[in-house]
Subunit: 216 residues, 2 copies
């Protein structure tokens, strides 16, 4: 029995692959591990049955035999630890790749995720423009540092790792903002991630759910 | 040579132990690993020498021989993996403890950290009250879920783990807000963490830096 993950029944981003199941799908594809998907509705996510899997009523979750996990970062790390291909063998290089996983989720993602939320929830507030500018400033500070560190390397620390996988999924959320293009090496980095066959398979799988739902 | 971490030369919270070196100090104390501390000023944090250790110019960093790490979550995980006492031996229980580490930093911390920032940076903005209320709403949603999951257990999943360590450090930031007290089991959970001898040693060590600086 392959592991089962959960994903949105109805894609909030219309199949752009920005939901957090995308990073888990991509990880599975990179390591060549088949997986099943169970779709959940927004209302079912808040019900006790789903909350038993995910205390905060979100997706994705991960079920494999007796093991239940939540938090996309934890699930990607679990997949990376159990299978080869997403973390270096060398202990120090492995610790550094894991540091980049935390950097993606804890340092780079928060202002980027806030920006999407503000664009949805605060568009009609009187402070909207000022708040968006402030967030864009925070985002640019992170991207500038990240761009400086990446330089002309292909990936953040040697070979492609779970750290790159998470960072690319975080940066992809800026695709329609125009901000990423101010940092050509980061835009190329994201494109490099999106060009990986494993990414393409994961993207197609989540898009197929949206396409099927649109037809239904 | 013990590992060296970095911490603020001048404590922004006046020794309340809310900076992110506190969680790393606590982890060291839980596993009984001695460590050295190098203090850095706010200006030095942005200089190339420190940025070589931390691409985003923050603290803490971790240096041990050839290995350099950044991101407090990654450093705590590294300490927990290298030493006994912060992660269960059973593989599934270990994966769940790591999931709580990610939950603390990625799901619970963001609105709590934003609240501190907004109180400092946006106090004179026209939207201040409304923004604070919105953040308090987000925080209460997370705390309510967390409180429901914790129930009357001592720790989030069996014995005390690195997941609890990070969650307690995240929740401590609410100590002066009055919000934590609305969830008595969470307030007791934080108190249980703060009562651990390892926490007390770590707290005293960071407080000593503030006290010494105040006298100097």
């Amino acid at each position: 029995m392959p592991p089962t993950i959960t994903a949105f029944e109805s894609s909030p981003d219309r199949g752009r692959g920005l939901a957090r199941d995308m990073r888990v799908r991509w990880a599975f594809e990179e390591v060549g591990q088949p997986y099943d998907v169970r779709l959940v509705s927004f209302s079912a996510m808040k019900e006790p049955a789903h909350r038993a899997l995910h205390p905060f009523g979100q997706i994705p979750t991960y079920e494999e035999g007796d093991l239940v996990l939540f938090e996309s970062g934890a699930i990607v790390l679990h997949i990376a630890v159990r299978h080869g291909g997403l973390l270096p063998d060398d202990a120090n290089a492995r610790a550094r790749a894991i540091a980049w996983m935390f950097a993606a989720l804890d340092t780079v993602e928060p202002p980027i995720f806030d920006r999407s939320l503000v664009q949805i929830l605060e568009r009609n507030e009187p402070w909207y423009e000022q708040r968006l500018r402030a967030l864009d400033g925070s985002i640019r500070k992170r991207l500038s540092d990240l761009s400086g560190r990446l330089g002309d390397a292909d990936w953040l620390d040697g070979a492609f790792s779970a750290g790159d996988l998470l960072m690319v999924t975080v940066l992809r959320r800026l695709n329609s903002s125009g901000i990423l293009e101010e940092y050509p090496n980061l835009a190329a980095y994201v494109a490099r991630g999106e060009a990986r066959p494993a990414f393409k398979r994961a993207f197609a799988a989540q898009l197929a759910i949206f396409t099927a739902a649109s037809k239904g």
